[in-house]
């Protein structure tokens, strides 16, 4: 069996194992762990776009919100009809939740397709602002959509997300992105990143690579949104604004662009940091932002980039 697949199976087995004892884990720790898992999915999927393919997306939170809203709509509107008043068995609920997550992911992927289109013509900061703009447009649309709660957001979402779902999907995200990038086909992402003109010259369709990156990245962001919504049980459009997108971009860059392991570690670190700093109360966010600057100055090649290869400017 190839090693990545083996790792995936081991990770899912581990997720099952952790999930079995999760009743004994303090809900606060569980909350932080789920937060870490969701951020890993977000950061690793954005890494495909920003890191491997060299595009600059600032709209990841927008895709996340599409997934969050759509999957919540599925479980809240379709759920009662499919499962009846009793709420169904655990297996039925699990099936519904999986379907909802995939539906959320697919709709986010569709949004990713729409956003990926302009990347044919735009690059760098212009692309960044367009993705940011798309994210904001999505936010405004949800904010004005009364059936989905409007300004107050959607509450009473069933609490389907468990640590198993989060860890399993985090593993699946890492596995998919890893295999995609390390496949023969996937080398094209790196080529697009390194030198677009040269890539075109050897016959690669860089446009398609960019769009595929956006679609796949958005799909997993949508899944992350679905997991988030069914964990916190409340979502509001304002929670998916550009500050959230920037948070994810920071994880990718701090982890070392195009370095999956580094990005995972950065996602863990940046989720834990505000929690660890709770003890400092008033100074908490000051220390957080100061650390961000210092980390970037000390290790500009990415916090966890041990290969010592200076990234290309």
């Amino acid at each position: 069996m190839p090693r990545p697949l083996l790792s995936l199976l081991v990770a899912i087995a581990a997720a099952l194992g952790i999930s079995a004892v999760s009743d004994h884990i303090d809900p606060y720790h569980l909350d932080v762990a789920v937060g870490i898992g969701i951020n890993i999915i977000l950061a690793v999927s954005l890494n495909l776009v920003n890191g491997y393919t060299g595009q600059f997306s600032l709209g990841h939170a927008g895709f996340m919100s599409v997934g969050a809203y759509l999957s919540a709509a599925v479980t809240m509107l379709l759920g009662p009809k499919l499962l009846g008043e009793s709420g169904g068995t655990a297996w039925q609920q699990g099936g519904l939740f999986f379907g909802a997550l995939v539906a959320g992911g697919l709709s986010a992927a569709f949004a990713g397709l729409l956003v990926g289109m302009p990347s044919l013509r735009l690059k760098g900061d212009y692309l960044a602002i367009v993705t940011l703009g798309f994210g904001e447009i999505i936010r405004v649309v949800f904010q004005n959509c009364e059936p989905l709660g409007g300004a107050l957001g959607l509450n009473g979402i069933p609490a389907y997300t468990t640590i198993f779902w989060v860890l399993a999907f985090a593993a699946l995200t890492v596995f998919t992105i890893y295999c995609l990038v390390h496949s023969t086909y996937g080398r094209g992402f790196l080529a697009t990143h390194d030198d677009e003109i040269a890539a075109e010259a050897v016959g690669l369709n860089t446009t398609r690579y960019k769009i595929v990156a956006f679609v796949v990245g958005a799909f997993f962001a949508g899944i992350a949104g679905g997991l988030y919504g069914h964990f916190k049980q409340t979502i509001s459009a304002s929670g998916f604004d550009f500050t959230k997108s920037i948070e994810i971009v920071v994880m990718v860059i701090l982890g070392g662009m195009g370095n999956t392991l580094g990005v995972i570690l950065a996602a863990i670190l940046l989720t834990l940091l505000p929690e660890v700093l709770r003890g400092f109360s008033d100074y908490r966010m000051i220390i957080y932002s100061l650390l961000l600057v210092v980390l970037m100055l000390v290790r500009p090649e990415g916090l966890f980039n041990f290969r010592r290869r200076r990234p290309t400017p």
Binding site: G150, K232, T234, I235
Partner: protein, 372 residues
């Protein structure tokens, strides 16, 4: 190693023979970020309440400790903070120092954990609808909207009203909705309903549209900050009709920011430092002595939220969740600094709303409206 053992022994004996463990109350508050106003005021009022309780000998012979966590005004953070308070610190009850949306995140957690939650300023009706462990120290938006609609019709004799809404703010959108329902049911007309994004500072476009609609009065349903700027820009654009707003207007900063422009405005309030009740006067004096400033709505509601809990704990005689819940639900005619509070069947504080006007830069009490 020996030193460690000695320390452990000391700690154990301190527990066994020293003061009994304090009663821990938790508070999640938006101390930083966009909604810091709620957190700063509510938490100050709540801390003051705890100080006073401890100075008077604590509760059930134990000291009270208030643990405050910052929600950074970031969605999702309130739930994490509340989980920490509930499951790491094992607080016996929670107080919210936030607007409605974060309180809505925490309410199901408290309900599931069987720990009572008293919201200080979350006025959206959905908060207490979550379950029977969720209470509120303030009145809810439907009541406030009704009071304002009646006031606009009967006292201002307004038939045509323009409503300005802060889109994205659950408070403003909800309040405007209840106002509109009552006001149109009573035969009034909403002639314009311009909206702005929460946090916006330029309202000239909306005001120009209002000017064209020629209303008798304008209901500014956003927070005091936006409303003050709205009034300033309205006067600069030549609008002269009266402006009125909800309980968020009850902040001294409204007059500081709005100056002459808010003169002659009206608003509903939970509380006023000028109320004639001697108990309230005494509270204002104590608060001023401690912090050097007059308590505003947010601070008073934070104070009352903790005091409501303390009263319930006293009556229950225990910090058991269910017993506290039952005691809270049975609260009747509790003398809070924001009025006499009776907890109704929906776990809202049924208490009268006061209407104030702004005259010479001061808040002047006009009348009180009882619930129903």
């Amino acid at each position: 190693m020996r030193r460690l053992a000695a320390l452990a022994f000391l700690a154990l004996t301190a527990c066994a023979f020293g003061a009994p463990e304090p009663i821990k109350l938790g508070m999640f508050a938006s101390l930083t970020g966009k909604q810091a106003y709620f957190g700063e005021t509510n938490s100050r009022g709540a801390s003051f309440a705890v100080e006073e309780i401890n100075a008077a000998g604590g509760l059930l012979g134990r000291k009270v400790e208030l643990l405050i966590e910052d929600t950074r005004s970031t969605p999702g953070e309130a739930a994490t903070s509340a989980k920490k308070l509930l499951h790491r610190d094992h607080v016996v009850a929670l107080v919210s120092g936030t607007a409605s949306s974060p309180a809505l995140e925490v309410a199901p957690l408290c309900q599931a954990a069987g720990v009572p939650l008293v919201a200080a300023t979350a006025t959206n009706p959905r908060v207490t609808e979550t379950g029977d462990f969720i209470f509120r120290a303030c009145f809810a938006d439907p009541f406030q909207g009704t009071v304002l609609a009646r006031f606009a019709k009967d006292r201002l004799h307004a038939r045509r009203v323009a409503v300005v809404i802060a889109n994205g703010s659950a408070y403003s959108v909800g309040l405007a909705k209840y106002f509109r329902e009552r006001f149109t049911a009573d035969g009034g007309e909403i002639v314009a309903e311009p909206k702005y994004s929460e946090g916006e500072k330029d309202f000239r476009a909306q005001l120009t549209a209002i000017r064209a609609a020629k209303p008798d009065a304008v209901f500014a349903s956003g927070d005091y900050l936006e409303s003050a700027l709205l009034c300033v820009q309205a006067r600069a654009l030549g609008l002269t009709m009266p402006f009125f707003g909800g309980d968020t207007w009850d902040a001294t900063a409204l007059v500081e920011l709005g100056g002459k422009a808010v003169e002659g405005g009206y608003f509903t309030a939970h509380f006023s430092p000028e109320a004639r009740d001697p108990a309230v006067q005494s509270f204002v004096a104590r608060f001023e002595k401690r912090f050097g400033l007059k308590p505003d709505t947010g601070m008073s509601l934070g104070y009352d939220a903790v005091m409501l809990l303390a009263d319930a704990i006293k009556r229950a005689g225990t910090t058991d969740g269910r017993a506290m819940r039952d005691a809270l639900a049975a609260t009747k005619d509790f003398a809070g600094v924001t009025g006499r509070i009776t907890i109704d069947a929906q776990r809202n504080a049924a208490k009268s709303a006061a209407i104030f006007t702004i005259r010479d830069g001061k808040f002047v009490y006009l009348e009180s409206v009882d619930p129903r």
